[in-house]
């Protein structure tokens, strides 16, 4: 086994950070296995969060979707669905965890700053500085049908609204001076006079005037996460985010190119280029040997991509109902129908279905694959597969060369899917000196090794940081 000399790399002291993404709506979570647990029972959330905390993970992460997914006007019924409101669930987890960060995905299109900023702030106080907000946007009227505002935003306005939302949220989070509350019940006033500032904001998206109701937490502001991969999304992250969830964590060169691109964008907006953590989403499949890990991966993929799921995925690509076909037979002979995406299955926007189908046909013919085998082979290749020691070496290489700062891991089984990673992989990472042996801080911001919130930095701090 070759190990890089830890001192002969660009970042010899780099540390790997793990988050766990408890997914609630997707076909990656296997629900059919005998040990698949509940997707809604609070015990499942507690089990995953406490396992992650035992493994010294930085963050426990929940997603959000504001309308049940549909295909051709019918509710998509093949995948896990039905999950708790993220902030509410995380506030409960704050009571049964001590150090792990609690990150909520919350939509900036179908929320208002006064309400959402306050909810996040409450979570941040209840967890004593462990809250994070994954800022997501929606533009479609299909989701809007569940909300007062209805309608939708222009695609281009999504990020404008998100950015203005953040501006208002930060003003609210900064509305109380540190030490704004009296330290004794004998004080004349409960809050120090002048220490709470109203927020007046009038902009294209928001026109609000209110008094913020909460102090800053131990970490200043909730940590801001962002996941958009477009150029616009990356610029948004460079201006606003503390952590990026990327889709670039599989291939080293791809990950490094993404990380370099983010660093370039950070410098362009005047931020130090180590000011943001890059945590690609991934799956980690472990085996005692390479062969065992590959065998496990095959089993997992077959569970994830059932015949019905394969036909569902193909149906979305072809734009026609294929549910009566044979997933274990050849690819459909028809040409795909290109339809406008109304957002109803927002996870999949396929730019050029004809090109994708042509590629699938060529590879399926060359390898003799069925439709289901094709989807498994050519679907998103998320995930690292191997032995704990092999993957620890691989991750050490990734992190010490600045390609990633860690991973946001999606367990394929709830609630026990994290156990092997914590019990087998984490010790290997620790042995290589790229993973903490105890929490380094009490807040999410500290554990991620982040600087103060962007709005708090004095000129002095900026110089030091740069």
């Amino acid at each position: 086994m070759t190990r890089t000399d830890p001192l002969d790399v660009p970042r010899p002291h780099a540390q790997l950070h793990f988050g766990v993404f408890f997914q609630g709506v997707n076909h990656w979570t296997i629900w059919s296995a005998p040990d698949s647990g509940s997707q809604i029972d609070p015990a499942s959330f507690r089990r995953v969060a406490q396992t992650a905390e035992r493994g010294l993970f930085d963050a426990f992460f929940l997603g959000e979707g504001l309308r049940l997914r549909e295909v051709d006007g019918k509710i998509h019924d093949l995948d896990v669905a039905g999950r708790p409101d993220a902030i509410t669930q995380l506030a409960a987890l704050a009571a049964v965890t001590r150090r792990i960060g609690l990150v909520s995905t919350s939509n900036s299109t179908f929320n208002e700053p006064a309400d959402l900023a306050r909810r996040l702030s409450g979570l941040d106080l209840l967890s004593e500085g462990r809250a994070g907000w994954n800022v997501v946007t929606t533009d479609n009227a299909w989701t809007g049908a569940n909300f007062r505002r209805g309608g939708y935003l222009d695609h281009a306005d999504r990020y404008r609204r998100a950015e203005e939302f953040l501006t208002v949220a930060r003003a609210l989070w900064d509305g109380w001076e540190d030490g704004a509350v009296a330290d004794s019940a004998r004080a004349r006033e409960w809050s120090v006079p002048g220490a709470v500032r109203r927020v007046h904001h009038r902009g294209p998206q928001f026109d609000v005037d209110l008094a913020p109701t909460l102090p800053r937490s131990a970490q200043g502001h909730p940590v801001i996460f962002q996941a958009g991969d477009s150029g616009e999304g990356r610029d948004f992250a460079a201006r606003n985010a503390d952590v990026v969830f990327s889709a670039h964590g599989n291939d080293f060169d791809d990950a490094l190119a993404f990380a370099d691109d983010i660093r370039r964008r950070l410098r362009a907006v005047g931020r130090p280029d180590d000011d943001l953590r890059i945590l690609p989403g991934t799956e980690i499949i472990l085996g005692a040997t390479e062969e065992e890990a590959q065998e496990k991966k095959r089993w997992i993929r077959l569970q994830q991509v059932t015949p019905a799921t394969a036909l569902g995925i193909a149906g979305l690509l072809w734009g026609i109902d294929l549910s009566d076909r044979d997933a274990d037979g050849p690819l459909p002979k028809e040409d795909p129908v290109v339809t406008a995406n109304d957002g109803s299955f927002g996870a999949r926007r396929i730019a050029d279905p004809r090109a994708v189908v042509a590629e699938w046909r060529a590879k399926a013919e060359a390898h003799g694959w069925s439709l289901r085998e094709t989807i498994i082979a050519l679907g998103p290749q998320r995930g690292h597969v191997g032995t704990p020691s092999g993957l620890a070496d691989k991750f050490a290489h990734f992190v010490r060369h600045g390609a990633i700062d860690g991973f946001n891991v999606t367990p394929y089984l709830i609630p026990d899917g994290l156990d092997d990673i914590v019990d087998l992989l984490v010790p290997e990472l620790q042995e290589r000196g790229i993973y903490r042996t105890e929490y380094t801080g009490t807040t999410l911001r500290e554990n991620l090794g982040l600087r103060e919130p962007l709005t708090h930095r004095s000129a002095r701090n900026r110089r030091q940081a740069g």
Partner: protein, 368 residues
């Protein structure tokens, strides 16, 4: 129904019902906004044997200087308290004057899952024009329009709770189906000002429907499980209770009790030097624990429960816990909720049928 004559709820926001309560609190002002405080108050109420705590809220600060201007959101506090307790019911206050009913419904359904069926909802209104400016929404100025928003918001939340039938997640390996889409329902709500499509994104709450509490003059009786009624004396409470038309009726009662250190009257007088305890037209008891027990016994002939609003939580909760609840329990007027029971069961309310399941069953009947 058999069961205790009286269910006891206690409002636990801030430091107590008096705006200056913080001055007599047993902790520093900054401690109010900490997780320890939230867990501690819930634990004291649970140990005392209360059926329910409520947590007041709104988008605006709870008060104005020199009194407290900070408050963690009630849903977040409720979720945190639910994870730190095992038996007591927990009902956040959530006005739907400006909030998104879809979000409110999801939050409350989640709270019910988190608490294994111990959640309730106190429906109130954002009355002040400043609330509209905070939300950034057009002002809802008059009482009738606010009542409409409450009515529509409760209707949407309740319909969404039923939009998943209990067994909608079928996990059928044979058919590869996680969900049975026949057991999921669009609510297709259309009100005067907005529409909501559904279904919910959260499975049906364990209780089926959460316990909804509110003022019967502000929310239609048919939407409430528990009417919160007010009256300055027993007779007016009795009249209001008789007129409520809801499955259960709770009387609102302000309380200040004698403590070992000071009489109730002295404690009230001390706080009144700083601010006035506004008269909301409720029964108000300022006196001994025994007198309160007698008052509650009298009330038990007219109402199913009482929501207490203690002057100062840190002073009055211990007296309620040490003297009042044991005395009521000794006279079999109240019963401690049992571990493992839902809030609905504790209140003697059945688990409601699902409106959509009932409708689809009826449609199947018709088709035969």
């Amino acid at each position: 129904m058999t069961g205790p004559a009286l269910h006891l709820a206690v409002e636990t926001d801030g430091d107590g019902a008096h705006p200056a309560a913080w001055r007599r609190a047993a902790h520093s002002p900054a401690h109010l906004l900490t997780p320890r405080r939230v867990a501690q108050v819930a634990a004291i109420a649970e140990n005392a044997g209360f059926t329910l705590i409520t947590l007041d809220d709104g988008v605006l600060p709870p008060g104005a200087a020199p009194d407290p201007v900070g408050r963690i959101g009630a849903v977040e506090r409720a979720a945190f308290a639910a994870a730190s307790t095992s038996t007591i019911g927990i009902a956040p206050v959530i006005p739907v004057t400006y909030a998104e009913p879809f979000h409110v419904s999801s939050q409350l359904a989640s709270l019910d899952h988190i608490s294994a069926g111990r959640a309730g909802w106190v429906v109130t209104e954002e009355e002040r024009p400043e609330a509209a400016r905070a939300w950034g929404r057009p002002l809802i100025a008059d009482a009738a329009t606010r009542a409409r928003e409450s009515r529509d918001g409760v209707e949407v939340a309740r319909a969404l709770w039923d939009s998943w039938e209990d067994d909608a997640a079928i996990r059928s390996v044979a058919t590869s189906r996680y969900l049975d889409r026949e057991r999921l329902h669009y609510i297709d709500f259309t009100g005067e000002t907005y529409a909501v499509k559904g279904p919910a994104i959260v499975p049906r709450p364990p209780q089926g429907q959460l316990v909804v509490l509110g003022r019967p003059d502000r929310v239609p009786a048919a939407q409430l499980d528990v009417a919160l009624v007010e009256g300055r004396d027993l007779a007016s409470v009795a009249t209001a209770a008789a007129a409520a038309g809801t499955p259960r009726v709770f009387a609102e009662v302000d309380v200040a009790l004698d403590t070992p250190q000071a009489t109730a009257a002295e404690r009230v007088a001390d706080l009144e030097r700083h601010a006035a305890w506004s008269d909301r037209g409720r029964l108000r008891h300022i006196g001994t624990a025994d007198q309160l027990v007698a008052l509650l016994e009298g009330l038990s002939r007219h109402v199913d429960g009482v929501r207490l609003h203690p002057l100062v939580l840190d002073e009055d909760l211990p007296v309620l816990s040490r003297l009042v609840l044991p005395a009521l329990s000794g006279r079999r007027l109240v019963a401690r909720p049992l571990p493992g029971t839902s809030l609905r069961s504790a209140l003697g309310l059945g688990r409601p049928a699902n409106r959509f399941a009932a409708a689809s069953a009826a449609a199947q009947e018709d088709a035969r």
